[in-house]
Symmetry: D2
Subunit: 292 residues, 4 copies
């Protein structure tokens, strides 16, 4: 189990959301409430769109709650669009290259969940990655493979369709190996201009995912909260787990659906249905021919 959050809106100091918020994500690294495990102490990462060309990353193998540098940086880094991810490793080593977000060019990617029996599927899924992307897989997580498969299948053109195809490939591969419940989780993607989030599970309930409500509703429900008064209509949060228990502030995202946050705070909803790959002679594994 992991936890992630994404902010898209007015530029804010990262510490506003990481440290100054009740039950924010750093608190969730020690005390998550939803999900099997309360502790997400196997490293963390932040990825933000800032002044440079493309997003920047800060990733650490320390638990988020004890990393002294994170507090320093969170007080300095201002960004209109960023991800934070806290990790609870399931099997793969605690190392920076296994910390989310993953990045390629302008793109960031986070995930909460798992590929079932990834150990058995890893080779076949990695063969589905475009050869030119293959050497960019530096770690050993399922998420990094999912990201590079999605890049192979068009993430940079159409993120949701690419993820539908990716999940389809994984489910089909798992099926051939007799593995049930192939994909579990929530995914977050951005190119710095929009933010996409997916909630999906092959079987059973999917990991939790929430979007913040419209600023007007939030203010109306909690007129006494000064922090909420500072929200602008452009601001939107996507989180694995609500930061606080205030009613009306968070909307659960439906299972098997995706949301898209556009600049300006507009929130679009879409269904999410895995697309089965078409077997072709040139891809005997059932994977679509990569990179074409």
């Amino acid at each position: 189990m992991c936890r992630w959050m994404a902010w898209f809106g007015q530029p804010v100091l990262i510490e506003e959301l990481l440290f100054n918020t009740k039950h924010g994500i750093v608190d969730q690294s020690l005390h998550a409430r939803m999900g099997a495990e309360p502790t997400n102490g196997d490293g963390f990462g932040i990825g933000w769109y800032g002044s440079g060309d493309g997003p920047a990353l800060y990733r650490s193998v320390a638990p988020a709650w004890s990393d002294a540098n994170l507090r320093e940086l969170a007080a300095q880094i201002e960004s209109p669009l960023f991800f934070t991810h806290i990790r609870a490793a399931i099997g793969s080593p605690v190392q920076q290259t296994n910390c989310h977000p993953f990045r390629r060019g302008r793109w960031l990617f986070v995930h909460n969940g798992y590929i079932a029996d990834f150990h058995s599927l890893r080779r076949e899924l990695m063969l589905g990655i475009a050869p030119e992307l293959f050497p960019e897989v530096h770690g050993s997580t399922d998420t990094e493979v999912v990201f590079h498969l999605a890049l192979t299948l068009g993430l940079e053109r159409d993120p949701i369709t690419a993820l539908e195809r990716t999940v389809g490939v994984i489910e089909r591969t798992a099926e051939r190996h007799g593995i049930a419940g192939a994909v579990q989780g929530t995914f977050g993607v951005s190119d710095g201009a929009s933010l996409w989030a997916v909630r999906y599970a092959t079987e059973g309930p999917a990991r939790s995912l929430f979007a913040s409500a419209d600023v007007e509703s939030i203010r109306h429900l909690h007129p006494e909260n000064p922090r909420f008064q500072r929200l602008s209509p452009d601001d939107r949060l996507i989180v694995s787990e609500p930061f606080s228990d205030l009613p009306g502030v968070w909307h659960e995202i439906d299972e098997s659906s995706a949301v898209i946050v556009r600049s300006g705070g507009a929130l679009e909803h879409e269904p999410f249905h895995p697309q089965s790959p078409r077997a072709t002679p040139s891809s005997p594994s059932g994977l679509p021919a990569a990179g074409r």
Copy 2:
């Protein structure tokens, strides 16, 4: 909050107690049940008496549950007497020099608890450390200062009396600063030949501490458990928190008391009463003249 355990008895592979035991101390690093916090993920340490001259240390800033080297070493290190400590930092940095056990010569020292408002007392307490020991304080924990105070006050001659004097000094110093509830915790000490453990709090209930029962009682109560049949009469465990919920296996150590485990497994009980230091002209701080 922290957790520690000590083994004294037949030589065992450390993994037997760290990884192969139900709710052992590595499991407690993620899921402690007693105490304010379930997570002890701010580093850990093992200190063991082995083949070399004096005890050896392995300390790491990683959480015990995720340290790959710990699993390797635990499968290799065999010892008749060792401590393991898992840390939940309260304020001081996560660094190896803040990980327990602390060591001097043949002596090892662990602690679960705190000195109240240590920040305010640190200077005065450090001045009580014998000058020749002062440069050996490498970290910033209260425990390391307690250990060096106790060394100053005779730990190597009589551990319990030295700790009674040390706690007395701390309580007197805290009193002068108007700080209540000065000392909280359990302490473990060894010189490789005996094992001492103390349970004490200036105010309120002290942190939990347990000793394993006699091997005969354990076997009688749980005849079906093959692990217990391997215990010898020499074997004794002291733990912050029982490894399993089996009744009759663990005896709670009384508050304000100490136990001593001698070679052969004998367990002696003693009261523990802080001794007030005598103020002398040469030690205006109320500390006894150090190192004499």
Copy 3:
């Protein structure tokens, strides 16, 4: 041996000076040319004045050359005034709390060099630190003690005089212990508005220290260098070791002297002479009464 650099001038991306410069300080972490040791691989730190209140720190125990986060941050952090320090530990542990810069409020402090036989002097020097500053010493380096002594002796009012008094105290203390060559090194200090640098050794040649020349001289000597054409008259660098071997770009700072860089790039020179503390009845150690 360590190496440090300071930039004061137009706001620059830190990577410009850390990575994009020939023989910059990250290169010096692997290949220093001046001094006893070519390797400065025992951690590093950057301290910068940025958007927040007071300076920020990023410190790591990894060698500067291999820290992936440093490359990310250096490409994001823009600052008009910052220090970078790379460490070669002599005896004290490699931990974040031993990495420079040290900080208090608006003040940053770095050091290249050592206090001779610090182990023997540590206690007495720490007693000279004002009691309210004492708990702020979190690590075990000589530098952190020097910084807190200097704060005690007026660093925030008059940095050079405070360092002269601090060095005087250390030399006097060392003398009483029969220790020769007490102080060796260069010091860098800033409050975000000015930058002070000191070069001094009790005995023998002091560690190297250089200031960048006036921008006009630099441009005149190297008209072909596009990087130099971007320098403004406000820009000044202080470095342990020149970044490149271009003649005329660097001026060696005299031994037993200090330089002050003011906003606008003006460089003032001052002599640096340790001031002997006056013994008073209330400070039998020869230290001035602390905190007044």
Copy 4:
């Protein structure tokens, strides 16, 4: 560039060879003399045959010279057969899963050198790994891929032949990609009963490799050295770089050759010639069918 050493002979405390030897391998981590780079500070590892089932590993991302745990463990671990490796990363991240030795079952593997343009060849070489071994590749080094290719090609049956086939596969693959000088380096392998070492480069001089001389010759040449008098006829060292400059103690291993150390200290020499894989219809990449 990296450095490694192997000991096979009477059981010794690892510290004897790591710390108590002039210009031993820990000293080489800071001051290597042979090869392009003097610094090998990007992590290290030891792998030893001890009391447990199969070899144990201790690997760390800290430089060997500053790892406090290494000194502790080296004073405790006694072994008749062990490897130590110090790493100078070329491109791949500093993480434990990239530290040598690599292990499978009873087998350990170390390497000094590189696969030319590994980035371009990685995918194709990984496809040559037997599917059941593929998920065991946890890091991103060329060495780990070489090891798993060699395991695929029979390392456990005949290490030298398997490495000849592996190097042949790599050279053929590189050739198809127009990459010259495919393989550079020295390899060390053991199953706990024998020790194999290879020195080979596709083009140009290979990385240095030395074996210790017969104990009789060493004693005869240096009768005054007490350490050498303790050597038994069973003892043999294989090292990237001699520990000291004493003449007659070290024999350079020929290029394109392998040595085998058997229990009892006997040293056998063999030529080493890469074997070209036979292309088959079922392995269009030119790799032999894996795992058969």
